[in-house]
Amino acid sequence: MTTPPISQKLPAQAVRPARGPLPWGWWLLLAAVAVAVLSPLLLLLWQSFLSNPFFAPAKQVGVSAYSQVLTDPAFWRAFGNSAVLAGAMIFIAVPLGAILAFLVTKTDLPFAKVFEVLLLTPIFVSPIVLGVGFIVSLGPSGFVSGLFTQLFHLASTPWSVYTLPAIALIAGLTHVPYVFLYVSTTMKNLDASLEEAARLSGAGVWKVMTSVTLPLVRPALVYSAMLMLLLGFEIFGLPLVLGDAKGVDVITTYLYRLTAVTGVPAYGPMAVVAMILILLALLIVFMQRALTRNKGSYASLGAKGYRAQRLKLGSWRWPLAIITILYLLYAVIIPMAGVLLRSLVRSWGPGVDLLGALTTANYAAILSSPDLSRSVVNTLVVALVGGGVAVAVYLLVALGIQRAPKGASRTLDYLAGLPRAVPGLIMGLALFWLFIFVPALKPVRPTLISIALAYMVVWLPYGVRLLTAALGQVSKDLEEAARIGGATATGAFLKATLPVLKPGLIAAWLLIFMQFVREYSSAVYLLSPGTEVLGAQIVQLWGTGAVDSIAALSSLQIVIIVAVYSLATRFGVRPE
């Protein structure tokens, strides 16, 4: 071997490992997330062992709250009902959402664009309002029910919207949009030639969907199912509106029962319920990790550009379109019509001349309310700005889960899965406590920032999963090529991956925006004059029975969201 010439081009010996950027950065992120997520939860844990509020001077430590809850048959009934709802949401929303996502994004289904917006509408609407919509349309006094009973000369409808199966069905149907969003975003970035190949091998459209497309979007399906499971236990608005009539309690409405025994808000038992749900959430994250372990390479966004060929449905085209319309009719159009109707009438039900009862007074009332414009502005600020910041934070966390050292990654994954498990009412209380007892946070409390922070923490699981899906689509090659080209690890991410991620980021921001507009229970304790937001106002109005105002307010909410959504899609949210 000849002595090789010394090259001047190589730098002096560097000890930085070639793996990722600043590994201590990941640990810092982990610490920040841990503090944000665990503070309210640890506070609740502490509270669950106390007989009095944790800030009371006199209190006893013990497990009385645990025994109270765990031996309460009402709790187990509620838990069972919640489990049924969660099950319904998984088994209805996931298949429907996946199939609809496939039909709308991958095939030549007619009116696909219109269907897409309609499909998503339930997410634009507050759950309480959705419940009202179903009551006004399909309830015992509903207009659809009335038409039906008249048509078939029945005394009453064969269905009831107040039973557990009915609520479960409605819960399932109204959560289809979540699954649809997750799955369709992933599907849109799959190379169409994969399905074409299957088609050419003789597979029909159904076979293509089940053996090619769905397996390729498996992570999205798993995430959606786990989210449904989580939301099933957290669901509040629908059971609040629909559950009382026949005494169907779920975990979140069971919380109201906890005050019955003492008459005073019982923080201990409430915290116990929260702890039980946290355990459940940990289990869910565990399952989710197990189910997505064999990730393989789902990355498909890379140098080959996008292909937008749509599968031909052939003779199934119109039948499927009609089925989709029927689905939309029952799950979206009818309840939305219910909401709209309620916002436009003084009174409703059998014996009411609907045309005579038409009025714009409800809209006049809310539009003339001085709080409204402030509330709308606040909501927009929190949702747009807070939402944007949230997306950035969620992206960091998703990156952490993807790239940090194993221990940090796993912990982040579990942490990120926790916040949504705790019912909004309890979480809102815990966050409120933090904001008033932690000196550093005190000045923030009366501002919109506290609300935005609360929302950010609570929707962490949702946002992180969205961004994980988006990240997983971008080929690692792009970033590696940038590193070879001379960019640092962080630089490579910013210059090579981030631009390609942009559509996914905007889509995520849009979804988070919608959630923030609808959210209510988490910030209920943080509101003050000047920081009212629409979602919380709706809950307050519900308390006084101003259902017509709620309906009008919700219509307003929908208009805002649809406007932002249309604007965003115009500016290239969906790569086509």
Binding site: P4, L10, A14, A18, E480, R483, I484, G485, G491, A496
Partner: protein, 353 residues
């Protein structure tokens, strides 16, 4: 402006599997080396370790004698500082940048002047024949054009070492044949040291100066293509290159450089790579193109039973049975008759354990 590469005792374990096992490799300046081997042999891992995108567990990698990775001395230069070029199998062109922007990226990272960058990019695009396409996006190019852009991007920063990961595997067959020649020309013209990974032997042999055959994380043979082809140092290598005939035989005796074996009753002379155990079983390897019809009674012939013939267009492919083995050979004519006499030149009969 090309460098040497020294790999010493490189080790890498992934998920419990030993991917690289004490690998040693030396590449001379301006040399083109192909890393060839079956899947799991560690060739891609080796390439990525050289690039810095993966970190080995043991050993040393040095460029021009300067270590970029040294396990013992805790040296690990990050990829962006190694000044290499890497052509990805997927090309990894950034879809949101134009061709020119893609190529310019590395120069921008090196903070070269705008005018200088523009000039170099235009020049290199001219060189690869894509001068007019600078403003297009990767999605608007054909596969072949994308591959060339990828190469241009790797070239333009004048790296000390060029790495290529299956550079031609995404091209269709016809294009691939043209690209083979073109790539070697381009590499030789630039004078750069290049290492490329491929699973295609013809590609490996056509483009490289030396072929490194990897097996189980170790180097099986490292030699110029003709040598690997004609003088494989093991049954594995002999079998890996091409699709040769392999027969069971019995070693009879050694004759200087050669060895005598018995095949189906006939005694043949061949070249043995190892000292055979006399009387023991050995494997005799004959490449299809070296097996031909012979005259009964001539030297180095053996009987075989004709079982099948297939018309391939240019030639007939004939199958014969020798004992328990089936052999193939080509001839321009159809054959008749059941018993044939096969001949193999002495130096083309390779004998291994």
């Amino acid at each position: 402006m090309s460098s040497t590469l020294q790999i010493e005792n490189l080790g890498k374990v992934l998920g419990g599997n030993t991917i690289l096992d004490g690998l040693n490799l030396q590449v001379e300046a301006g040399e083109i080396v192909a890393l060839l081997g079956p899947s799991g042999s560690g060739k891609t891992t080796l390439l990525r370790c050289i690039s810095g995108l993966e970190t080995p567990d043991a050993g040393r990698i040095s460029i021009d004698g300067r270590p970029v990775y040294d396990a013992a001395a805790r040296v690990n230069v990050p990829p962006e500082a190694r000044k290499l070029g890497l052509v990805f199998q997927s090309y990894a062109l950034w879809p949101h940048k134009t061709v020119s922007q893609n190529v310019a990226f590395g120069l921008e990272q090196r903070k070269e002047g705008k005018g200088e960058i523009g000039r170099k990019v235009a020049e290199v695009l001219e060189q690869i024949g894509l001068g007019a396409l600078g403003g297009r996006y990767p999605g608007q190019l054909s596969g072949g054009q994308q591959q060339r852009v990828s190469l241009a991007r790797a070239f333009v920063t004048e790296p000390v070492l060029l790495l290529l990961d299956e550079p031609l595997s995404n091209l269709d067959a016809k294009l691939r044949e043209h690209a083979r020649a073109w790539l070697r020309e381009a590499l030789k013209a630039s004078g750069k040291t290049a290492i490329f990974v491929t699973h295609d032997q013809s590609e490996a042999m056509a483009i490289s100066d030396r072929v490194a055959i990897l097996r189980g994380g170790k180097l099986a043979q490292y030699a110029p293509p003709e040598q690997v082809y004609d003088q494989p140092n093991s049954l594995f290598v002999a079998d890996f290159i091409g699709n040769p005939n392999i027969m069971d035989a019995q070693a009879v005796s050694t004759e200087g450089q050669g060895v005598r074996v018995q095949v189906n009753g006939a005694t043949l002379e061949g070249v043995g790579v190892h000292d055979p155990e006399l009387g023991g079983k050995v494997r005799a390897v004959i490449r299809q193109e070296h097996l031909e019809l012979g005259s009964p009674g001539a030297a180095n012939t053996f009987p075989a039973r004709h079982v099948n013939s297939v018309f391939l267009g240019a030639v007939w492919e004939h199958w014969v049975e020798v004992g328990a083995d089936r052999l193939r050979f080509h001839s321009p004519h159809k054959l008749s008759g059941e018993m044939l006499t096969m001949h193999v030149p002495r130096e083309k009969l390779l004998v291994f354990h």
